[in-house]
Structures are given as structure tokens and as C-alpha cells.
Amino acid sequence: MFKKDQNFENFTEAETIIGESVLVKGNFESNGNLIINGSLEGEIKTRGAVLVGEKSKINANISAQEMMVKGNIVGNLSVSEYLAIGESAKILGDIECSQISIERGAEINGRVIISGQKNRREESLETNNE
């Protein structure tokens, strides 16, 4: 599982990997970690972590424990713990997570709700960085 200070680049193997040349259509449910480098249309639910690679194109709502986004997502993200958004990420949709980091250059178009883990105080931001 991801740690806040851990480099996501080390996350190269997972129970499920969707390669660059593959398109998955439908509802995907898992208990393990996912790496998505290809295309996905539908819905993803996992109790594990999701890494969305730079070349990925996702049109889906995603629910996960932890998540790193470097690619394109059209859909809502629900992350129970830590969400990391890289500089190449483009997200069109609402985000809910406990903790977040956003790199300079990332594009988010949607409502962001961050509920800190300790005090559970919800903060909401409206961002539109294009």
C-alpha cells in the first residue's frame, strides 16, 4: 500500500494491470491493487490502491483506499485515505478523500472534499485550474 512519503514510481507490480494497448469496458471490482496504463470505461471499486499512469484514459467513477493519478480521468473519485495527483493529471469530476497532495501543473475541474484523518473536519474546495 502507498505511504504518503513513498515514491509512487516503486509501484510497478499489482494483482491487476491494464496495459497501454488495452481497453476495459464495464464494472471492475477487486480487493487488490490496480495499475491502469490503458483505457477504461465503466466503474472501478477496490479496497486496495490504484495507480493511474500518464497515458491512461479513464471514463469511470473510481472508489479506492489510496490512489495516484498521472493520467486523464473523467469521473468521480472516492478515496478513503490518501490521494496523490501528479503534474500530468487531468481530472474532470468530483473528488472525495482523507488526505491529498497535488503537484503543480495538475488540472482538476470539479468539487474537492478533503476530510482529514485525525479530526474528521471536512474542508471543501472548489478548484478550476486549467
Binding site: 488495452v22 476495459v24 469496458k25 464495464g26 477487486s30
Partner: protein, 240 residues
């Protein structure tokens, strides 16, 4: 009592077969021999040997022979250990089980390290290792919930027991768990791995699917992990 099942391929590789027989004689592991090309009903003959007290079935042949005997045993008895002696070409299953060649085979048999593995099922047939098909005109549905499409020409592989090639690509597929894996490999290390927890449905009107690297069957097909377990005598260099 050991029962040796000789595939017709042993005729072509007499020297290799003889070398194995010599080792078997030295180790005192001789038994009864059945020649597949001279028996009319292999299932009946194998069942007869099991009822007469066969303790181990030893197959001399290739992937096709292994698939044939496993399909017979799965419907008769799952309690008799099987050992595969790779003779000639097309022996990926024996290699996956840690039996690289006929020279080492007798010693591996004598060490008698056993592992039970679950068989995969495709329609009414069983398979040990994998099923594969071109992605051309192939339609895939996994666990009745999502479909998969490859945008490049490739081979789809449904794996129960990983062969050495897959194993070398650092991919995990255990024949002892309750699922299969769906693999797509392309150039530049672009790989796809999807777990199959229930079943995969495959249709293709133009191409057939190849199981255990040897048996072609036509589609549509439903592939899943079966409840049949077979015990194999294995070597230490197996892929699981």
C-alpha cells in the same frame, strides 16, 4: 505399482525413451507399460489399472499426452499422482512442473515430491496450463461484468499454471489458488493482467482456442477454475 503410459511420440525418440528406461531400471521403479497407440479405449485401460492397484501414473509424451491423461483421470480418480516425462518437443507443462528433460526425470520421480493443482475447465474439458487465442475477432467477457479489447494484434492467454516464459516475466499465476489469470502481452513491456474469479466467456466465429499448447477447440467457450484437483510429482524448479 507404477503404470507407464507411452505416447506414440516415444517411437520417434527411441534413444531418449531408452535412456529414461535405463534410469528407471537402475532405481527399481519399473512397472506396467500401456502403449496409447495400441489400446482402443485409453480411459477404460487406465481405469482398469487403477482398480488393479496403480500407485503412480507416469506419462511419457508431451503436452497433448498430459492433457489427454488428465482429462481421463479427472473423471475417474483424483487420488493417483501423475508424473510427466517430457519426450520430444512441445513439453511446456512438464517444464512448468520442474521436469526439464528425460535425463533428470527418473531422479525427480524417485524423490517423489508431490503438489496438488486445480485444473482449469473449458466447456466440458479440463486443462492443466493455459488456453490461448488470437485477439482477432475475439470477444471476451470476464466475471460477467466487464469486457476487454486489445487495440493491437496480440495473443490472449488464460493461465492456470504459468509456463517458464511467463514465469521469467515476473508474473504470478498459481495453479493452487481459486482463480485463473487473463494475460495480454505486447512489445515494450506493455502487459495486462486481469484476475478471473468466476469465469471468462470467449467467442470467436473464425478462430479456435488452443488448450495446453496442444488441443484446438472451437468457440464459444466458458473457462473457469474447476473443483477437480490432480496430484503431480514435481521437480524443485517448478513455476509455483
Amino acid at each position: 505399482m507404477n503404470v507407464f503410459i507411452y505416447d506414440a511420440v516415444t517411437e520417434k525418440y527411441k534413444k531418449k525413451t531408452r535412456k529414461f528406461e535405463e534410469q528407471i531400471n537402475k532405481l527399481g521403479l519399473q512397472g506396467k507399460i500401456l502403449y496409447l497407440n495400441s489400446i482402443k479405449n485409453p480411459a477404460e485401460s487406465i481405469e482398469k489399472e487403477i482398480n488393479s492397484g496403480a500407485k503412480t501414473i507416469i506419462i511419457l509424451g508431451n503436452d497433448r499426452t498430459a492433457n489427454l491423461v488428465v482429462n481421463i483421470l479427472a473423471n475417474i480418480s483424483q487420488n493417483i499422482p501423475i508424473f510427466i516425462v517430457p519426450i520430444g518437443k512441445d513439453n511446456l507443462i512438464a517444464e512448468s512442473l520442474g521436469i526439464e528433460n528425460e535425463k533428470d526425470a527418473a531422479f525427480i520421480l524417485s524423490a517423489r515430491r508431490t503438489e496438488s493443482i486445480k485444473l482449469g475447465k473449458i466447456n466440458h474439458l479440463f486443462f492443466i496450463s493455459n488456453c490461448q487465442i488470437t485477439n482477432k475477432d475475439t470477444s471476451i467477457k470476464i466475471d460477467n461484468s466487464y469486457s476487454v479489447f486489445s487495440q493491437k494484434e496480440t495473443i490472449y492467454k488464460i493461465v492456470n499454471l504459468a509456463d517458464k516464459d511467463l514465469f521469467s516475466k515476473n508474473t504470478k499465476s498459481s495453479p493452487q489458488d481459486d482463480r485463473l489469470e487473463f494475460f495480454v502481452f505486447n512489445k515494450n513491456k506493455d502487459k495486462t493482467i486481469l484476475p478471473i474469479n468466476k469465469a471468462i466467456e470467449i467467442t470467436n466465429n473464425n478462430f479456435s482456442i488452443l488448450l495446453d499448447n496442444s488441443v484446438q477447440i472451437s468457440l464459444p467457450a466458458t473457462i473457469s477454475i474447476s473443483d477437480k484437483k490432480i496430484t503431480f510429482v514435481v521437480g524443485k524448479d517448478r513455476t509455483f
